[in-house]
Symmetry: C2
Subunit: 403 residues, 2 copies
């Protein structure tokens, strides 16, 4: 099955920003084939930040990484990520496994254990094959290079159908170039406040830890916190960032921020387009809401409705389901004043359906990208929400994931 | 595909309680075959009550019925229901259509229009073929009899795979019998606070309007408000009740209430078991929660999780998804103290997974009924939530419903 992501083609960045190297290997954590362990290392300790899942069963590696960032005051040397096992809901043994993998990598790199960030993705409730990981780490460190973007993007995939990476380049103050490279994996359990997703954003710009942290949080709020695949959030969600500083300051700091935002938004879009089983991208845009909270509630309720998402899967212009989803929100609006459209085709206006003799609505719901517009006629707030359709393929993928 | 409902077999009540008659006909509202219009009439005006959807796009018939019950002080003569078209989001014309169908039935029965309750179920945003309904009503009234329970249950079906009706009989004070007969339809858009469902509960007991209303609300809170199929609520949800009074008072009023509750709970269970595409029933039981609100949030979050519901569809003991769903609630609990089990097989206890060498967990997730138990170890509140698994069949049904 071709996803929108496939159809759009894919050009991954060829190499990492200056000051970083990476390597991947197969150590046998996940079933099937392909590398399942990745190291992304800076040449030297550098500013780092991360945003982690709010799920209260945060996995052992998440809790360890959170502590490490606090104890280094926002610095790190390397990130260790495995696929195939989330090391979540694994109790004390899970904590020990996360710490011992970090210690092993720290030993190889000659840094402190606190300078290592770790994460895992895959099935919850299983233990890591920690001996295999220990055995694999020395080889990873030995062969790390700056050309491994695609290998890392592949090694962290779970049910993703394609690797996800993107880059932006801007001018540095000294006339050289600053690069920002982002790598991510989805693709189920995607929801605001993040889900089974991992993002890594590396830059060679010079940025102090607090500024890097603020930049990451702001970018995430505009990107990963506005997408959903299935409403579930996970135990292992995280976006890491590191800034090597080698390229110096940006000529235009606001352009650096904007580019950082763009990298995160591009990754978020890739995750939605490659949502489990997705055949179409669904974008819900709410305008003229009484408040930002209202706008968000409406966009999220419609974008999360199973009935709306299955209608989009079927290319079925069943817009009554949009109305029904809107009707169960608590947002301020007058049912007799609102307007609903799909890809600019009006469907419902001021309390009454628009007659559709030309079947324009059916065409709108069959497009590769379905933009549902809701005018609440109640204020000035606006919100956009990105998701994908809900297909039988989604169910097949998830009905048989762990076994 | 056999649903649990089919497997359990089905015996519908053979006739209505004393004082009621019904009839159905095909007037061409829905595509395909089968009757699509039903009248349920009392011999005389009698106490009646109803609970309607909270959706803010409540359909025209819902708004009309609500006004009628107010103006009669809780009395009615008949209920008119059609399938195939919800008459929702249809503007002023929808209001006029609902009123004119009620007026037509009132004329045939020789009662006031306010004594007629109406509802519609089917696609939202389309207009009723009102002339066909007017043409069909006289024949319905002429042929009404007390033996039409199954015909009514069939005529109000949309995507239900089987008709739903149940009865209870208790002793009347005078030594005779009091009967309670319930009829309902599901089967998508099912969620607490009701969804695309219609319930009708008829009894020949003598009950004043205010007592009938209280009894209905209490029964619904214990039944229809505890089930979900897909989280969507609809514009047309309603449960109607009428009490003819012919059988007099109950010998034991508390037994009447309990039987009324049972009828509602049985209908709710039938709706879940016949949820769109359902192959298994999923029951989430939360115990030892700090509060009722916590218990309900946890039960509803787990029972609504797409990933939990697809795991159950696949018979896949992926209990990590239960943990992940629990972890995104705001309920009070200590992750190191909780316990999770499925059909009494322990899965997770005090922060660590239970080793499962015998594959007992896989068996539990493959059962016809999967009972997930969550012990929050935080208090004494308990809540149960009923839903069904999420299958590829659900998506197929809903991807192509309106066309």
């Amino acid at each position: 099955m071709q996803t929108p992501h496939h159809r759009a083609g894919l050009r991954l960045p060829s190499d990492l920003p200056r000051g970083f190297s990476a390597a991947t290997a197969r150590v046998g954590i996940r079933q099937g084939e392909g590398d399942d362990l990745a190291v992304i290392a800076a040449d030297h300790r550098c500013p780092a930040a991360a945003v982690f899942t709010k799920n209260r069963f945060a996995a052992s590696p998440i809790r360890l990484s959170r502590r490490h960032l606090v104890s280094t005051g926002g610095h790190a040397r390397a990130i260790l990520i495995n696929a195939g096992c989330a090391n979540a809901a694994t109790g004390d043994r899970g904590d020990r496994d996360a710490a011992s993998s970090a210690a092993c990598l720290a030993g190889e790199l000659g840094c402190s254990i606190e300078e290592i960030l770790v994460n895992s993705t895959g099935v919850i409730g299983r233990h890591l094959p920690i001996d295999a990981i220990h055995a694999g780490i020395p080889g990873l460190v030995a062969k790390a290079s700056d050309a491994e973007v695609e290998a890392v993007a592949h090694a962290i995939m779970t049910t993703d159908s394609a690797p996800k990476a993107v880059e932006r380049t801007i001018a540095a103050k000294d006339g050289g170039k600053i690069r920002i490279v982002g790598i991510a994996k989805g693709s189920g359990m995607i929801h605001p406040d993040m889900a089974t997703m991992i993002g890594i954003v590396l830059t060679d710009a010079r940025l102090p830890p607090d500024q890097l942290d603020r930049m990451l949080r702001r970018a995430i709020d505009k990107s990963f916190h506005r997408v959903s695949v299935d409403g579930d959030t996970s135990t292992n969600d995280s976006v890491f960032t590191m800034a090597s500083g080698i390229a110096g300051d940006a000529a235009d700091p606001s352009l650096l921020e904007a580019s950082f935002d763009e990298v995160c938004l591009s990754l978020a879009r890739m995750i939605v387009a490659d949502g489990e089983g997705a055949s179409r991208v669904l974008e819900v845009k709410v305008v003229n809401a009484a408040s930002q909270i209202d706008a968000r509630e409406v966009a999220e309720t419609i974008g999360s409705s199973l009935l709306v998402r299955t209608a989009v899967a079927g290319g079925d212009p069943n817009w009554g389901r949009i109305i029904a989803a809107l009707g169960r929100t608590e947002a301020t609006f007058n049912p007799d004043r609102i307007r609903v459209e799909a890809n600019l085709v009006p469907l419902f206006d001021r309390g009454s359906p628009i007659e559709d003799p030309t079947d324009a609505a059916a065409k709108a719901f069959s497009a590769e990208r379905v933009l549902i517009g809701i005018d609440l006629a109640a204020g000035t707030a606006t919100e956009t929400y990105l998701t994908c359709d809900l297909t039988a393929e989604y169910v097949r993928i998830n009905a048989d994931y762990s076994s």
